[in-house]
């Protein structure tokens, strides 16, 4: 399975754009406050394969490049490391992180980064469902290399346990920290979260 996530910065007409995205099969939700470079609207499509994505792409791009959209960050990816703890979770918060691992790194270090990221949920039970994927096609501010999606029961799970757990700040974060010698990820990120009202990662 593949997915496309688009984070849209709007300059008007939210309702019409929202409807247009949904009309093309996206789950759409308003991005919540507390995001960082996360846009105003988030839209997620699932595709059986790349061909299905290529067929849908022109219509989607027409919206993303159309009236009312100031800018969009996009990432199309094959589903990577997936975990489901809470099947059918539809009332929670879905968080999207676009990151660009563009600091010089060997394939071995990149693999280490990915393995450590994928283990976050093991240490942080507040992450109910998750998906960590390499990007196939990116658009927007940076050539995003990875998409990290997590579902929490509520925003408290994201703001509290997720941020407070030492696996996060004392271990994983060094890849994101220019003060650490392992620094790997561009400081520009898209950190976005929203309540879709439907199950995204365990549908």
């Amino acid at each position: 399975m593949h997915s496309l996530i688009a984070l849209l910065h709007l300059d008007g007409e939210a309702a019409r754009i929202c409807a247009a995205l949904a009309g093309l099969g996206a789950a759409v939700a308003q991005v919540m406050k507390g995001n960082f470079n996360g846009g105003d609207l988030s839209a997620i499509w699932d595709f059986e394969n790349e061909a299905a994505y290529h067929a849908a792409r022109p219509g989607i791009h027409a919206i993303l490049n159309g009236a009312g959209v100031a800018r969009a960050d996009t990432a199309f990816f094959g589903h990577g490391s997936i975990g489901v703890r809470e099947q059918g979770l539809s009332t929670g918060i879905h968080r999207t992180l676009f990151l660009c691992a563009d600091r010089a790194a060997s394939e071995a270090r990149l693999a280490q980064f990915e393995a450590e990221m994928a283990l976050m949920p093991k240490y942080i039970p507040a992450i109910r469902n998750w998906r960590f994927s390499r990007v196939i096609e990116a658009g927007g501010e940076l050539p995003w290399t990875h998409v990290w999606e997590q579902e929490f029961a509520d925003t408290a799970g994201l703001m509290g346990p997720y941020m407070l757990h030492p696996y996060h700040w004392a271990f994983i974060d060094r890849w994101f920290d220019p003060e650490c010698s392992d620094w790997l990820v561009n400081l520009r990120l898209c950190h976005s979260f929203a309540a879709y009202g439907v199950a995204i990662l365990s549908n």
Binding site: I124, P166, W169, F171, D177, E179, C180, S181
Partner: protein
């Protein structure tokens, strides 16, 4: 939430550059760290004699209060170009450096239960 969290800078100076490295760190890094809410607890020089031909190791312990204190300093340092500039500026004074984050072993269980 109030556990002491350590930020440890482990700097292996370039041969003969230990004293210059420490001076640069004290002059151009410490004030900013303090301003970001960090407390400088210790600077240990190993061996405690400035070597001219070999490397001194600097073990620098900072503390902050809990994960909140940790994120507090990180949120400030990450987007402060002066911090990145400092680390770039000392590149020729170090053989290697590592920063790691820890806590007293007695606090591990409580922290990891977050």
């Amino acid at each position: 939430m109030g556990q002491t969290v350590y930020l440890i800078d482990d700097l292996l100076a370039a041969p003969g550059k230990g004293r210059e490295l420490l001076a640069a760190y004290r002059e151009r890094y410490v004030p900013g760290g303090v301003a970001r809410g960090m407390t400088l607890e210790k600077v240990i020089v190993s061996p405690p004699v400035w070597l001219e031909e070999a490397s001194n190791r600097l073990t620098i312990l900072w503390t902050v209060e809990g994960p909140g204190g940790w994120w507090g300093q990180a949120a400030q340092s990450r987007y402060d170009p002066a911090v990145a500039q400092f680390w770039a500026s000392i590149q020729d004074l170090v053989v290697s450096r590592r920063r790691h984050f820890g806590a007293a072993d007695a606090d591990v269980a409580e922290l990891a239960d977050a």
